[in-house]
């Protein structure tokens, strides 16, 4: 694994269609990554309304939930990601 790959965050955001919190989470995550992790992130948005079975992989119960898959260990942040400091700490940016 190269250094660049190691520093790339692989982020999976689990949402439930277009619920207010899901939309807010998508919007907040995109903004935070754009501002604090330019070029160092990959976001995958999984709509559990369409594919509820995908919740099992990361044992998702509450939506929205953000999973930082890489770098390990896995981290989860529950909520609409409006608390920017909390998100940045969990993404180990600050």
């Amino acid at each position: 694994m190269s250094t660049e790959e190691a520093s790339t965050r692989k982020l999976i955001l689990y949402v439930a269609g277009e619920t207010p919190k899901s939309l807010a989470a998508i919007s907040n995550l995109e903004r935070i990554c754009r501002e604090h992790l330019p070029g160092k992130y990959r976001i995958e948005v999984i709509d559990l309304k369409k594919n509820p079975q995908l919740a099992r992989e990361h044992k998702i119960v509450a939506i929205p939930t953000l999973v930082r898959e890489l770098p390990i260990p896995i981290r989860k942040i529950i909520g609409d990601l409006s608390d920017e400091q909390k998100v940045l700490i969990n993404l180990k940016v600050e």
Partner: protein, 492 residues
């Protein structure tokens, strides 16, 4: 062996702790409303359950609304927009969802609407905003009301399209302004459509016709005659030229059917309201009647002045020669010549003051006699209605009065303290002249002119330019009587 069992146990404990922490965190998130959906499993099948009200009914309602409508959360983030809103901003929902209103709306509108959806706004009054929609400015009345969407508090924001109303109001205002401008113009202003039907006419324009102008054809309401030099036959050609893109300015014309038959200066310009070419024509008609009259008067005066200057110079020359011939000394010449020129000048002054139109006989008499005696004294008695005389007669009479007054001062009634002069202005009769009689009395005994000098010639001949004019001079023992006949054609 035991060691590895302990490690496995420890790992299990760590995993359980981790899962307990996650479970706790999940419950806390659900309790404090940080999430609005949960995954529930049943019979091996997972399902997503949205917490709170089902927003679909709300969305269906918004979708059916005619105004543009969006639901935003407390941060102003778009949670839903209806088709009209998407149409306004020409965007798909996939590109709009989750965006902040401030990212979608242009700056000034964004600030105004931002205040409506701020948490501390309480039933803020609707705001009027305008922004470009596909390059065309449109106006909206934006209002916001608080709503609950699931677990989220936010706002429903509606955009009511006022563009047509604003345009109609602007058009109405523009129309009022245009009407006010037309009405307040001093010149006649007429607006007609492409078929020459008059649509607007101000007060000055109405005065050019005996009929109501609006609704009638321009060429019928105000027929105009144009001088041949313009190459224009009728007013319709002026309008057509203007509609074809050639505005015409300051064309002189004559309006024979207008009250008072007036000379006018016509200008025609196309009426451009949109980019689709002129919709009509705006005509202004400046009344030239007074100016024309002034011009005619000026030309008349110029000709008259030229004529008079020549006549006056000839008269001065004649007076000079004749005075020189009849006076024996230089001093005598100087006195007589100056007196006659001053007499001429006095009448000229009066005529200049009256624009060379006509003079009152009494004025001429006063101007010529006053150097010798007080005309308002008992020695001067004027009777009869005053006459208004044209310049030719006025000058002649001025010279006659001067000669008579000079003679009276030297030898006649004014040479003695008791003498007096009666001036009788006779009324007009059927005769081709009006008579004025100069009668001296109570002066010294009269002798005829010792010799008939130039003074006598002036009196005898000044009014002889007409067969009906002239004088008769009698040297009665009681005093000089001069009967003056003024041609009636020179009496105004």
């Amino acid at each position: 062996m035991r060691n590895s069992q302990e490690q496995a146990l420890q790992s299990l404990i760590d995993d359980l702790r981790q899962r307990a922490a996650e479970a706790e965190e999940t419950l806390a998130a659900i309790r404090d409303g940080s999430v609005d959906a949960v995954v529930v499993g049943g019979e091996g099948k997972d399902e997503v359950l949205v917490i709170g009200d089902d927003a679909s009914a709300f969305r269906n309602f918004m979708e059916a609304m005619e105004p543009g409508a969006v639901a935003v959360d407390s941060a102003g983030r778009l949670l839903y927009s209806n088709a009209r809103f998407r149409q306004i901003f020409a965007e798909d929902w996939d590109r709009l969802k989750g965006k902040l209103l401030s990212e979608i709306l242009p700056g000034p509108a964004s600030q105004l609407i931002g205040r409506l959806v701020s948490p501390d706004s309480h039933d803020a009054a609707p705001v009027s905003v305008s922004f470009l929609e596909r390059g065309v400015e449109r106006n909206y009345l934006v209002s916001a009301r608080p709503v609950h969407l699931g677990t989220v508090r936010g706002f429903a924001v509606t955009f009511s399209d006022l563009t047509e109303r604003v345009r109609a109001e602007a058009a109405e205002r523009a129309q009022r302004i245009a009407n006010a401008i037309i009405a307040s113009a001093n010149e006649a202003v007429i607006v007609c459509d492409r078929t020459l039907t008059i649509t607007h006419a101000n007060f000055a324009a109405e005065a050019l016709s005996t009929e109501k102008l609006v609704g009638t054809r321009l060429d019928a309401a105000i027929p105009l005659k144009f001088p041949d030099a313009t190459g224009i036959l009728e007013i319709g050609e002026l309008v057509e030229s203007s509609l074809a893109g050639t505005p015409l300015r300051s064309i002189e014309a004559y309006a024979p059917m207008s009250p008072g038959a007036r000379d006018v200066l016509v200008s025609a310009a196309p009426l451009n309201i949109s980019d689709d070419g002129p919709e009509g024509c705006v005509l202004t008609l400046v009344d030239l009647s007074q100016r024309k009259k002034d011009e005619r008067q000026m030309h008349l005066l110029m000709r008259e002045l030229d004529h008079r200057v020549k006549n006056t110079l000839a008269l001065v020359l004649s007076i000079s020669k004749r005075t020189a011939a009849s006076e024996e000394t230089l001093e005598g010449f100087q006195g007589s010549f100056s007196g006659r020129i001053e007499a001429l000048a006095a009448t000229h002054n009066l005529l200049a003051g009256a624009s060379w139109e006509s003079l009152s006989l009494r004025q001429i008499f006063s101007a010529e006699v006053s150097p010798y005696t007080e005309t308002s004294s008992d020695r001067i008695n004027i009777t009869g209605a005053d006459l208004s005389l044209y310049p030719r007669a006025a000058i002649a009479l001025g010279l006659i009065f001067h000669e008579l007054a000079t003679n009276a001062t030297k030898y006649g009634a004014l040479s003695a303290e008791t003498g007096s002069i009666d001036l009788e202005i006779h009324p007009k009769t059927d005769a081709p002249y009006v008579q004025v009689t100069w009668t001296e009395k109570d002066g010294p005994p009269v002798k005829s002119f010792s010799r008939k000098g130039f003074g006598h010639t002036v009196i005898a001949r000044s009014l002889s330019y007409s067969p009906h004019g002239g004088t008769t001079l009698d040297f009665e023992p009681t005093g000089v009587i001069c009967r003056i006949r003024i041609p009636v054609s020179d009496v105004a």
